[in-house]
Amino acid sequence: MRRREVGFIILGVFAIVLVLTSMAAAEKPYAGVTINIGVLGAGQKGAISGGLYQWRSEWEDMTGAKLNIIEVPIAQIREKIITDLYTGAGGFDGFDGPVWLMGDLVKGDFLVPIEGYMKDPKFPQWNPEDVVEPQRSIHFWKGVRYLASNDYDCHTLIYRKDILTDPKWQAAFKKEKGYDYNVPPRTWEELADMAEFFNGKDWNGDGKPDHGISQSWKKGEQAMWHFFSLASPYMIVPGAKEGRVTDASNSYWFDPDTMRPLINEPGYVQAMEMAVRLYKAGSPAQAGWGLGEMWGDFLAGNAIFNYGYGDHGALVQEEERSKVKGKIGCSILPGTKKIWNAKTQQWIQMDAPNFVVNTIGPSWSVFIFKQSKHPEVVYHLAAFHAQREIHFWNVTHGFTGINVGTYTEFFKEHGGQATIDAWVESGWDRNDALEYEKAFYENYFMGKVWLPNLRIPGTFQYVDALDEQLQAAVTGQVSPKEALERCAQEWEDITAQLGKEEQLRYFQEDVGYKK
């Protein structure tokens, strides 16, 4: 064979190989890339991390990339991220983390905005307009979008509907307390009366006294967020449109003009006194309970009430550990009729309960770090999870810890696209699915006021300071007033340490306040 012919054959083989590899690359655009994503350490079937593990192989097949999931205990998340970013160690390409870290990350200029990626058709497409309005702001800072749709936390109430609607118990309550209770209770005062009534009685027939309420008060967990939910109707005055912060009467955390902490205002003190009352209406071991133990008590059928993240409804469906499937009711958190106005320094008495649109919680979402060599791959992962089908699957499978937060996940009667059959097919009890969806709907659309999320630099320090005082108050080590006075002093110290003017500016940006 002549040399020229051999040359042509070699070139031809080379061209074929080039075409084939290009096709493979087009199908798997990120082959050979590995990304390290941090996440809450809850295991392969645990909250938030479970969702990443669940879809890992499918995403890796689609992209050719490799996903390293690095689990971090909740108490260490902030320090791991901050240390990694400030030292430039480069351990994480991204983190499926809590939105309350946004201020810390924006301050250090560590985040990659995602608006540019969203318009590119090569990434999975998701609809940001589908996110319910009260939750949209968590993806932004000062008008720049940093996060894709993922988890949407809020606190709702869950209760034993079967017990509360039993005429026997209704009559006994009326005999003891002198009035008929509402199902669900509409004020915290009413809920406390009901919890106290049921606490210590054997209302589930197992021969042992049961609890009125199960709560998580363990230090270093999330007790402080539960308290913020409880306190919100006592402190946020209705009037401003769509949750806007206009002054101290509705900004909840700090005075938006002066950065003065509001945590020791009389409304908060009232709420702390309610917290102490509720603590006594449950197990004395609650001060040592994390979320798992709290849910465990309710799932085992030992508590009438529980409130917190929407995981509770989904966990009720897991028959391996739930004895209450088909027996629950869910609703928006109770309100209160007596509200403290931090601006006028006066109490306001209302005719109807002050319900709050609650968006408290970490609302875990994927932050993309500038230190990453492959930010587009991290965005691809985030966008993959934001897709409607993936999100809906996660929402209807409780172990993922992902909660309802898009309009399409509501039922058609509530303007969504979901059907009850889709939930039942996912393993939900029909009654429970209706109750669960109703609670989210009430939460997002029934509230008169919005509870803003706190995402400023040092958020963890502020809430940590409250965490300690909360425990001290509910276990009787200090009075509610003294606990909150101490907390306010610590908040002043933290603000001074981080720089008052700077913190004020970040707070105003966080809540969208303009003078």
Binding site: W217, K218, G288, D464, A472, Q477
Partner: protein
């Protein structure tokens, strides 16, 4: 950006390396320098580098930042003695000092006492002596953090402790949720874990006591207590004092078990000094204040142990 090696920037390792090399070069120029000295320096060099790099340098660095207002995202500025002064006004500081002091005094005393009693019992000529020694040593092999997490299931509201107590009509006890009981729970766990260590060291000391002396003393006094006081304890004292100092030092650094089990709660009931330091420096990133806490702790330990060494009288075996 500087790359990290074993936690330190490479540039600092290079400074250390060349610093040592320069020192060696200077030493070589000294009159009367011999090959033997050169070999000694060569073998000592790794230890010196390690001590300088991992002990001396961090200590000096911590001392410097304890006088600064410093943290992640905070502009560094000189704070003078502010970080130290605020400690004495901080109720959390005093709460951690109180809890740590109570823990050290009670837990270490019980561990030493119980360890001594067990050692005396096992030191006798009894059946299955080796078996008892092994059983008493088992808790020593438990990692403290694992113990903290394991203890959570044991002290749970419906865990084995409360089930046992319910047989006598007691409880349920909120072992980690009651601020009066939680510190006791931490002490009990520590006593369970470290009594075997005290037992082991004291037993080793008891093995050195000459039997003939004890027998002769008993014949003279006819009192076991006098034999223990005049013969046994003086022989065991060096081992006893050694284990006491080791336990004191470890107990003062208490961290793992309360961190894993209660996170210092409820409230501040079980927040040890080490947990407070860790939270201040590495959770809240108030590095200056955290360094001040650490330096205070170091100063306290140095003073305490200087006093203990003075009164220990290690060299004397007999009264």
């Amino acid at each position: 950006m500087d790359f990290l090696f074993l936690g330190l920037p490479v540039s600092r390792w290079l400074v250390l390396f060349f610093g040592i090399a320069i020192i060696i070069a200077i030493l070589r120029q000294l009159p009367g320098h011999t090959k033997e000295k050169h070999i000694k320096i060569f073998f000592l060099a790794p230890t010196i580098i390690w001590i300088v790099g991992m002990v001396i340098y961090p200590l000096i660095y911590a001392l410097i930042i304890s006088f600064q207002n410093r943290g992640a995202g905070v502009t560094t500025s000189f704070a003078g003695l502010d970080n130290y002064a605020r400690l004495f006004k901080d109720y959390k500081f005093w709460a951690s000092v109180r809890f740590t002091a109570k823990f050290v005094v009670i837990a270490v005393t019980v561990e030493l006492g119980l360890g001594f009693v067990l050692a005396l019992l096992v030191n006798r000529d009894i059946k299955a002596q080796k078996f008892f020694r092994l059983i008493f040593l088992l808790p020593l092999f438990t990692p403290p953090v694992a113990l903290g997490f394991l203890a959570f299931t044991v002290v749970h509201e419906s865990g084995p402790f409360n089930v046992f107590l319910s047989l006598f009509g007691i409880g349920p006890v909120a072992w980690t949720a009651d601020p009066g009981v939680a510190p006791i729970t931490i002490m009990l766990l520590d006593i369970w874990e470290w009594t075997p260590f005290c037992f082991l060291v004291i037993l080793a000391g008891l093995q050195l006591v000459p039997e003939e002396l004890e027998e002769a003393a008993y014949m003279d006094t006819n009192s076991n207590f006098q034999v223990f006081r005049r013969v046994t304890f003086p022989f065991v004292r060096p081992a006893f004092l050694t284990v006491m100092m080791l336990r004191l030092l470890e107990a003062l650094k208490l961290f793992d078990v309360p961190y894993a089990l209660t996170y210092g709660g409820p409230g501040l009931a079980t927040e040890s000094y080490s947990i407070l330091t860790y939270k201040t420096a590495l959770k809240h990133f108030a590095l200056g204040r955290g360094a001040a806490l650490a330096i205070m702790f170091l100063a306290t330990i140095l003073i305490l142990f200087s006093l203990l060494f003075r009164i220990s009288r290690f060299s004397k075996v007999y009264e």
